[in-house]
Structures are given as C-alpha cells and as structure tokens.
Symmetry: C2
Subunit: 92 residues, 2 copies
C-alpha cells in the first residue's frame, strides 16, 4: 500500500477500515480505484465499497465484474476460485 | 423453491449445487433469475453465478448491484449488512 500510484487494492484478511482508508487515500489522487478480492474475501470487498460510499458520498460504484481463477492446490488438483472487481469512482 | 414462478433465489447456507440446480430449473421457464445474498453468503452467490456460467454457456451475468440493509441486532443496535444481486440471463 506504500506505492502511491496503485489503482488496485487487494482485499484480504486485514481489518475492514484498513482497506477503506487505503482506498480513500488512493482516490484523492486517482479518478478510479478498483477493489479486488477472491474467495471468502469477496464479502469484505462489498463491505469496503459500501462503507466508502456511505461515509463520503464523494464516490460511486462502477460496473462490477465477477470471474474466477484456476489455482493449483497443494494436492496437485486444480480448483476454481471466484473473484470480484469493484471499481470505485470519484463523483467530483 | 417449490413456487415455479419465482425469479429470485436467496443464497444461504445450503450446499452450492442446491442453488445452481434451482437457478437452472428456474431459468428453463424464465428469461432472468436474480441471485440475492447478504453478508458472508455473498461469496457463495458469486460462486453460484460462476458455476452456472461455466457449466452451461447458456446463461450470462447481468448488471451486478451491491447495496446494504440495516438490521436490528439482538442488543437493539442497528447493523448494516452488505447485499448483492446478480441477475442471470438466458442467452437463447
């Protein structure tokens, strides 16, 4: 999160407000920041988007994309994991 | 799920394939079926949509909406829970 030019925030296991803060900071210098998550973190990505929108009124949610990634698990089998991308846009 | 005219499927705690099967059955008689989920079930709703799309090629994912609901918890406080709506459309 130290890189000031990133337009993507990967949602993982950190507390919700960590991602909310990161996204709002990024959005102060960029018009669009995309929240990305996979698996169980998808629910938190939606939470992050909702909190940003509710708290500020300065951002809107763009076209949400869902997809999947094929990952190889430790037993050598391929598993499909769902992913989500939520673009957050400045409204000003 | 017994009602043949429902165009919404609420994703909860049942196994994934229960919802996949329900959705495909509904889509045989309706052009659009919407998957709805809230909280942690949001991740499963995305899984259901992905499995339907991958298995069949007969359906596409429409415009995804995210929102939140205010629920009163047992201690009387109001909590916001994120929700998702994923419309699945027939491509034929």
């Amino acid at each position: 999160m130290l890189n000031g030019t990133r337009d993507t925030i990967f949602i993982g296991k950190k507390p919700l407000m960590t991602y909310v803060t990161s996204a709002i900071i990024q959005l102060s210098t960029m018009p669009v920041v995309t929240l990305k998550a996979r698996g169980q973190s998808i629910a938190m990505a939606v939470d992050v988007a909702q909190v940003i929108q509710r708290k500020t009124n300065a951002f809107e949610i763009g076209k949400i994309k869902i997809d999947y990634e094929s990952l190889e698990s430790t037993d050598g089998k391929t598993r499909n994991v769902s992913t989500i991308e939520i673009p957050m846009k400045r409204t000003w």
